[in-house]
Symmetry: C2
Subunit: 344 residues, 2 copies
């Protein structure tokens, strides 16, 4: 195990960025100067998004492996670019590293970031690496592109549009509950083996989420341009409210159409939690939520991994969940919000 | 004083980014979606740089006012873009905020960032705001531009090129020493008034540095394109070694030509520190270090705020400081390096 202080900042950066390959023509100069240099064609919407992840706020290293953490930290940024109907191309990676980490630890973390970048065709173009007196700090900025005018925002949903969602919801949240439960159970026990049997999907959704590049590709192939789109990071409810607010519309979402995996349902049962609440407010799904014109109904109905869950209505009708018995419950944004956490 | 939890993440962001003005045509969509959207012309070098600042590693809030901190956090990123011969255009601002901060505190910090952006014509286009269980975390990414092929890197210096530096060196470091001294002196004293008389310049260089946009403008006006350029953040010595390594050259820098302000000299005397060491290794000067062909000698000699301090030589001659008595001392990178700090 090598102490980071034996390398210093520049030595560590050299080691982490060794043999970095460039896969995008838009990357002209990557790591190693005051700034990276990019060349994008003029007919491009250049997309920029950023995420800050802090230890014990966004992740708990007692059960999150560093390689998974690196992978996830990169993927959540890619997800934001896909959510604009774009393709991620470059990231910068800034790390704040406390003394308890060795060079090998940081290499693990960085390996996860590099694997995610290879998987999604993204170049690492720079960053900043520094000591932290606190916990681990990860700040990633992602740059991507969409054909000019094709970036999809949150504000374009119209009355009668269909509301679609990819994949299934609530699993990442249930994975977190499971990991937290096993953490409590393991306290003080040296040889504790956590029990994830039959719940592997939940754990994977929490620890190693994927961004839905495939859906963006399918939409393009089908010639569907969503009127509004977001990725679901804070929970379906919270994101729907964002789209409705920005688009000045309302919505109806059907409880019985919300896609939920059976492992999520079993886990909710086991923990005596409300399943729909978990699916609506759980967060960290990184699925795509989008609206399309009613005329695209057939196209999205036939799209693999996409489900129509409701429709957009006039603003004055508000945003509501239509329950199985036909009742209506107003949607509330109760998603993950570390700035509102009780315990700190 | 308002608790941040009373607003939550989205409420806080809304408040901080209220009435943000956009001053660049390249900014198409700023704050408020999954990603910002930029439009740059095709004949552009797009520049990307990022900095991570952590409390008690990069700043000490016992003597750094939050507004100054915000200003400096933005300006150090602009400096990196100027150091590429570019113009900063956009930034993303990510903040990790611990519980002891109120809404008003964060507004102060953000006000400093906004003032810097107004001053330098830069748009705030996004970011991330979250709770921190640690100290204050500031992560800024800056995007800028230079005409295509005009971005100046570190690797273009040639044998016989002149080495130039803007402004003066060592003052920010001496300002830090002064602030640290007054912090120690003030310990436990309620009504302590720090004594900065006659040393205002040092304090200002440390707390409110400026980026040298004026030098970039002057170079353009004079038709001088540097062969290599960096900003001096880690100290002259460290940056010279970077340029020499990347350009595969050596250098000679004259001790008696290094620009030093008289307040810096007085402070070094007072603290019984070696003045040249402070100027070579102090760091945080945010001055520009650049090399130009010998044929540009007259142009740079006549440039206000620029001094020729030495020349580039063949790699095998190494990098050295030529002392007042004609001796030579090999340059060493002893600049600020938090990953090598002893105390943590």
């Amino acid at each position: 195990m090598a102490e980071i202080s034996s390398l210093g900042e520049f030595g560590l950066i050299d080691r982490l960025t060794e043999n970095l390959e460039i896969s995008n023509s838009s990357t002209a100069v990557a790591v190693g100067d005051d700034a990276a240099v990019l060349h994008y064609p003029a007919d491009t919407d250049i997309l920029v998004t950023t995420d800050l992840l802090l230890e014990n706020v966004h992740f708990d290293l007692t059960y999150v492996p560093l390689k998974h953490l690196g992978y996830k930290a990169a993927v959540v940024n890619f997800s934001d670019v896909y959510a604009m109907n774009g393709q991620p191309r470059q990231i910068t990676v800034s790390l704040g590293i406390s003394k308890r980490f060795t060079v090998e630890h940081i290499e693990e973390l960085y390996a996860g970031i590099r694997i995610a970048c290879e998987q999604y065709g993204v170049d690492i173009i720079g960053g900043d690496t520094t000591a932290s007196h606190q916990g681990l700090v990860i700040s990633i900025t992602c740059i991507g592109e969409a054909p000019k005018g094709k970036a999809v925002r949150r504000n374009g949903a119209h009355d009668t549009d269909l509301i679609c969602v990819s994949g299934d919801l609530g699993a990442a949240y249930m994975g977190l509950q499971l990991l937290e439960r096993e953490k409590v159970a393991s306290a003080g026990q040296k040889d504790f083996v956590p029990d994830f049997a039959g719940k592997e999907y939940l754990v994977e959704r929490q620890l190693k989420p994927e961004a839905r590049r495939d859906i963006i590709d399918e939409l393009a192939k089908a010639g569907v341009v969503p009127t509004a789109m977001m990725d679901i990071s804070d929970g379906l409810s919270s994101e729907l409210i964002h789209i409705c607010k920005d688009s000045k519309v309302g919505c109806r979402v059907y409880e019985d159409r919300i896609p939920i995996d059976y492992q999520t349902a079993v886990m909710a049962e086991e923990l005596n939690m409300n399943l729909v609440t978990a699916a609506l407010n759980g967060g960290e799904d990184y699925e795509l939520l989008f609206t399309v014109p009613l005329t695209d109904h057939e196209k999205v109905e036939n799209m693999k991994g996409v489900k129509v869950i409701g429709y957009i209505c006039k603003e004055e009708l508000g945003s509501a969940l239509v329950t199985r018995d036909g009742g209506e419950i107003a949607l509330k944004a109760q998603g993950f919000n570390p700035l509102k956490e009780e315990e700190e």
